[in-house]
Symmetry: C2
Subunit: 297 residues, 2 copies
DNA sequence: TTTTAGATATTCGAAAATGAATGGGAAAAT
DNA sequence: ATTTTCCCATTCATTTTCGAATATCTAAAA
């Protein structure tokens, strides 16, 4: 074939394209910066076009690169589907299973589950990705996801593993200093801590007839972790699942009348992977572990 | 990413899958047989499934391999589209242009055209693929194709470059020995030479009211070349374009009443490649060269 | 029975790809 | 003004990958 280039170079190209610099791409891919630089140059000569303009702070994609990137994405997706198809047919109960979950779940809930699981499933390694961006299961960025919303795509299999009540909290000292708000109007005089990427609380209020928007939150953070730490530090009023907040004695729950709709937790995997022994084992184990866990308070 | 394998291995896998043996794949890919063997094993361990059963005469795909192959084909197609997109944006008038044409066109028509073209377009190399299977332009198996039928796909640009009259021929000695048939019925007592993969002659007869089928041809060959050589050797009666047959003094044209529909010749390229300087140059040159050629006799 | 042809597997030296270290430059922070 | 912090490019020793040669096996042909 004529139009034949080293297919691995597309990987490096995409990483550099997405992250904007060789160095950043190197950090994310596990390759070295010189290697990525070479890959990009090699791809450029083998395709016969200039893909990036090298500048002081990174590689700026040329118009050609923008066009190529789109097709390269399809290419990568097809590659992911191959891996997924293969994983679905693999019958060995060993290897690595990749789980993705939100920061909070990954740091406060999973650790106690993963330990016993690794003991129960020798031969299986777990890779845990704590991210609040939703990884793409269809592309096999992860094998199993724990999500807070019910997945809609047809290719996914899902199972609701918990309903998590949410409460309104602040530290004891914060409330002593600023008082305990009781009506929605009083909330507006407080620092309310919000998590940027979720409209869970907004929808919760809407469902009980209160219409609020992002400005309701005086302190907005893009990290669940940071938001909860801010709450713990007495920076203001926040929303948290009971199971998490109840671990901290200095957090006080109040305004229980504002009953936010409970958060749902879903275990999700790709349908193809139902047949993979190792992924099935982990999926089932996670499901059972969450079922035995009392997250109601 | 977890499901991450060496994308180049997919190339080797497809070659081995299609050709059925490491050795055959080695011949076709330019890699060596040990390398392909290693690639397949490597892919197997990295995907976690067995792809082939090694046997005395080749590698037999497992069911898993059959499933994977389909997706791998998509993968390869996407790779081809990347190459095509890139080629379309390449503005350098140098490099290799890949042309595909039928055996006959490639051996008797193109040589006289390609010489002057290479002189006129320094920096451009030509790769000529003489095949009667239609190469896939959409996948960039070739840049430019010369075809005998009007292409239907929307993504292709095409230009009719010639109408080639077809005549009925036999060698002088054949006709002296067996007589000159005049009616269709008389043809049936002769050895008529046909080319397996084309129904051109069949349709030609149909268009003037004679219904015949493959059994009309006593000698069927899957190579245009071989068929024409058989005609030249006096093996029977055959059909040939005038420009080709008229080069041979011992071929006699007869039965001109059976006017086969003239063969059309199309120059075809992918629409994306209209913008590629080097491909455009070759395309235009070929178009002009054929226009200046008298193929009517 | 022996030979031939075609297949995969193995060995080993050569070639290619890789990454750590380093150099150098420009913007941002101090 | 100076330091720090990002970048990218280059160099070189090391690791990885590759192919020629070879061994071995099997079915078919001689």
């Amino acid at each position: 074939m004529n139009g034949d280039f080293d297919w691995n170079l597309a990987k490096s190209f995409l990483a550099v394209f997405d992250l904007g610099s060789l160095s950043a791409a190197a950090r994310s891919t596990g390759l070295s910066q010189p290697t990525l630089g070479r890959h990009v140059s090699e791809l450029e000569t083998s395709l016969g076009i200039l893909l990036f303009e090298r500048s002081r702070d990174g590689l700026k994609p040329t118009p050609a690169a923008l066009a190529i990137a789109q097709e390269a994405r399809n290419f990568a997706d097809a590659g992911g589907r191959i891996a997924m198809l293969a994983a679905g047919r693999s019958q060995s109960v060993s290897g690595t299973v990749r789980i993705t979950a939100s920061e909070i779940v990954a740091s406060y809930l999973l650790p106690q589950i993963l330990g016993p699981m690794l003991a129960a499933l020798p031969g299986i390694d777990i890779e845990l990705v704590a991210t609040n961006t939703v990884e793409n299961l269809l592309r096999r960025d992860a094998d199993i996801a724990i999500r807070m919303v019910e997945p809609q795509q047809l290719d996914l299999i899902a199972r609701k593993i918990a309903e998590l009540p949410i409460g309104v909290y602040a530290t004891r000292s914060y409330l002593e200093k600023h008082g305990t708000p009781a009506t929605l109007e009083e909330f507006r005089h407080h620092v309310v801590i919000g998590y940027d990427r979720s409209d869970l609380v907004l929808r919760g209020f809407a469902s009980i007839g209160y219409s609020i928007d992002q400005s309701f939150f005086r302190l907005r953070m893009d990290s669940q972790h940071a938001a909860f730490e801010a709450l713990l530090a007495g920076a203001g009023i926040g929303f948290a699942p009971l199971w998490l907040a109840s671990r901290h004695a200095n957090l006080v729950r109040f305004a229980e009348a504002f009953s936010i709709r409970p958060m749902q937790m879903w275990l999700v995997a790709h349908a193809e992977l139902r047949t993979s022994a190792k992924i099935r084992a982990v999926y089932d184990h996670l499901g059972a572990a969450f079922a035995n866990m009392d997250l109601g308070r």
